[in-house]
């Protein structure tokens, strides 16, 4: 069910740079976990609505008014790299 290609694909989607050992371990473990979850296929769920939450709250609205919030300094205080009031990341767009 889970092969090396699947592990590599899911790791990439997850933005996880796995070690070789982790790749091998997760291939085996995810395979056996999903295998044990096959019991779910025994259930007839046709026509059963999906529950995305427990108790069905919907359309919780509030007045759209400004309220005190974090200052820019507070918001940036934990950033590993910040400059001129912004978070710093490596180049996103490659240049020639």
């Amino acid at each position: 069910m889970i092969d090396d290609r699947t592990v590599a694909h899911v790791a990439r989607l997850s933005r996880l740079d796995l070690t070789d050992e982790e790749r091998t371990l997760f291939r085996t473990q995810l395979g056996s976990i999903l295998e044990s979850f096959q019991t779910l296929n025994a259930l007839d769920v046709s026509g059963v609505p999906a529950a995305a939450q427990a108790l069905g709250a919907a359309n919780v609205l509030r007045e759209d008014v400004p309220a005190p919030s974090l200052t820019r300094e507070e918001a940036l205080a934990n950033a590993p790299a910040a400059e001129n009031g912004y978070f710093v990341v490596p180049p996103v767009i490659e240049t020639e």
Binding site: I2, T6, V7, H9, V10, A11, L13, S14, R15, L16, D17, L18, T19, E22, L25, F26, Q29, L30, S32, I33, L34, S36, F37, T39, L40, N41, L43, V45, V48, P49, A50, A51, A52, Q53, A54, L55, A57, V60, R62, L70, E74, A75, A77, N78, A79, P80, A81, F87, V89, P90, P91, V92
Partner: protein, 498 residues
């Protein structure tokens, strides 16, 4: 003989502050002395601010005895480390948040401060609350106060161990699939998972947002009710917090359960439960019968499917929630020359094995081609599980069963076998999927290890399950047993002011 100061309940402390028998500073010193004596063995705390706590205690010395003192005035409280505390380290047990100091308090923390609680520090937990043993903490495991070779349960293992060992009077935990009730059962204390939406999640580091709830851990039921009273209620900062009135929980503890209709969940006694645990829980049911409750078997036919459904839904939500840990806004950041590598390497270095495993599992369940077969199917099963509870609650006021199939297991016993570890949650995850409240109350010992009785209620009927737990507690003495490690430190048993 009265209990040592460090072992007294919050409601006793309140009365004794009023009578002048003791003071917040005296109690705090006893608790800190206890922590100093046991922490090297238990490792319940990740962070303890003695100075700040002492300053707060001194501030409450003059006020805690007044009739108008707030509910938790001068009471020492510990917080699970996935609750944001302004200016205090908050790691959720993860290397990736090492050094993070939130710029704000979680709503529950604000409410505790307003209620006069003395906040001692932050307790150990499985990384991002993913685990059943606290062994997944990046900062080393917590040990069970009843047996140092065993786990305290998880993920709120530090909170449960701290309360059991008298390192705090009360603690907050969080429960996504059993993370309050399981450690409470393993450590012989009371732990309540409230109804989804009963307590604001604002400032709780998100694991699985449709399941996470913050709740109290305490040495007796009355204390759990007292703490729930403080933290429950609508919060504009959490749109999933419910606009439902908060009843006076402590006043609802009549101790009478005459005529209470108790459903015994048949599926919770199926294959896999240790016979001695089943026997302890069955004996507890006899106590409830003796108190005038009517107990009958009930079936939750889809309960056996709750575990796989949970372990698809929770990791799926986690894989999305944990996307934010990418080395940009806070926490660990790996050296990298491009953005993809920055994300992937930061996460490789910052996350532990179980968190990676769940991110992988959740991403897989949500990915194109597998979404319908796994995630969507699990959500449909969730509907069936919830319907089972609704049907059962048409006939019964509360449902009961064990909290876990075994008492506390040994450190290292399950850490290499995820499926075995997940099975520890088999009787607790259905409650989270259904969103209903559940409480674990001490109901016996197996080989010297505590066993928990789980009492489950209708949505927002925490008062009913707390009263059932209270009635049971009044009729038994299990909650008065303290682990041996708690003896011999932390204030004299005679108490009294010097």
């Amino acid at each position: 003989m009265p209990a040592a100061l460090a072992d007294r309940s919050a409601w006793e402390l309140r009365a004794q502050y009023r009578s002048g028998e003791t003071s917040p500073t005296e109690v705090l010193r006893a608790v800190l002395k206890r922590a100093a004596a046991v922490e090297s063995q238990l490792h319940a705390y990740l962070f303890l601010d003695r100075e700040a706590a002492l300053r707060e205690a001194v501030r409450w010395d003059a006020l805690a005895g007044r009739p108008d003192a707030p509910a938790l005035a001068g009471v020492p409280v510990a917080l699970k480390d996935n609750l944001c505390t302004r200016g205090w380290p908050t790691t959720a047990g993860s290397r990736i948040l090492d050094g993070f100091r939130p710029p704000y308090d979680a709503t529950v923390v604000t409410r505790l401060r307003q209620a006069g609680a003395i906040i001692l520090g932050k307790t150990n937990c499985d990384e991002f609350a993913m685990g059943s043993s606290t062994e997944n903490s990046a900062f080393g495991p917590t040990r069970n106060p009843w047996d140092l070779d065993r786990v305290p349960g998880g993920s709120s293992g530090g909170s449960a161990a701290a309360v059991a060992a008298g390192e705090a009077a009360l603690a907050l935990g969080s429960d996504t699939g059993g993370s309050i009730r399981e450690p409470a059962a393993f450590c012989g204390v009371v732990g309540l998972k409230p109804t989804y939406g009963r307590v604001s999640r604002y400032g709780l580091i998100a694991f699985a947002s449709s399941l996470d709830q913050i709740g109290p851990i305490a040495r007796d039921v009355r204390d759990a009710a007292l703490l729930l009273q403080v933290i429950a209620g609508r919060d504009p900062a959490d749109s999933t917090s419910a606009d439902v009135a908060v009843p006076p929980y402590t006043e609802r503890l009549s101790g009478s359960i005459q005529g209470l209709r108790v459903g015994i969940v048949r599926e919770f006694f199926a294959e896999g439960i240790e016979p001695a645990v089943a026997a302890a829980v069955r004996a507890a049911l006899d106590v409830l019968r003796g108190l005038g409750a009517t107990c009958e078997d009930v079936s939750l036919p889809h309960a056996p499917y709750a575990l796989p459904a949970y372990y698809l839904i929770a990791p799926a939500e986690a894989s999305s929630n944990l996307a934010r840990y990418a080395g940009v806004q806070y926490g660990h950041r790996a050296a990298a020359g491009d953005l993809y590598t920055l994300y992937a390497r930061t996460r490789r270095e910052g996350f532990g094995a179980e968190v990676k495993r769940r991110i992988m599992l959740g991403t897989y369940a949500l990915s194109a081609g597998y979404y319908d077969a796994f995630y969507l199917r699990a959500q449909r099963v969730r509907t069936l599980v919830r319907k089972d509870f609704e049907d059962a609650f048409a006939r019964f006021d509360v449902l009961v069963g064990p909290v876990t199939p075994t008492p506390a297991f040994r450190l290292g016993e399950k850490v290499d076998d995820p499926i075995q570890m997940y099975l520890s949650d088999i009787y607790t995850v259905p409650v989270n999927l259904a969103g209903v409240p559940g409480v674990s109350v001490p109901c016996g010992f197996v080989r010297g290890l505590p066993v928990g009785l789980q009492i489950i209620g209708r949505p927002f009927e925490e008062g009913v399950i707390l009263n059932a737990a209270y009635a049971f507690e009044q009729a038994t003495a299990f909650h008065t047993a303290r682990p041996a490690i708690a003896a011999g430190s932390g204030g004299t048993a005679a108490g009294g002011r010097a």
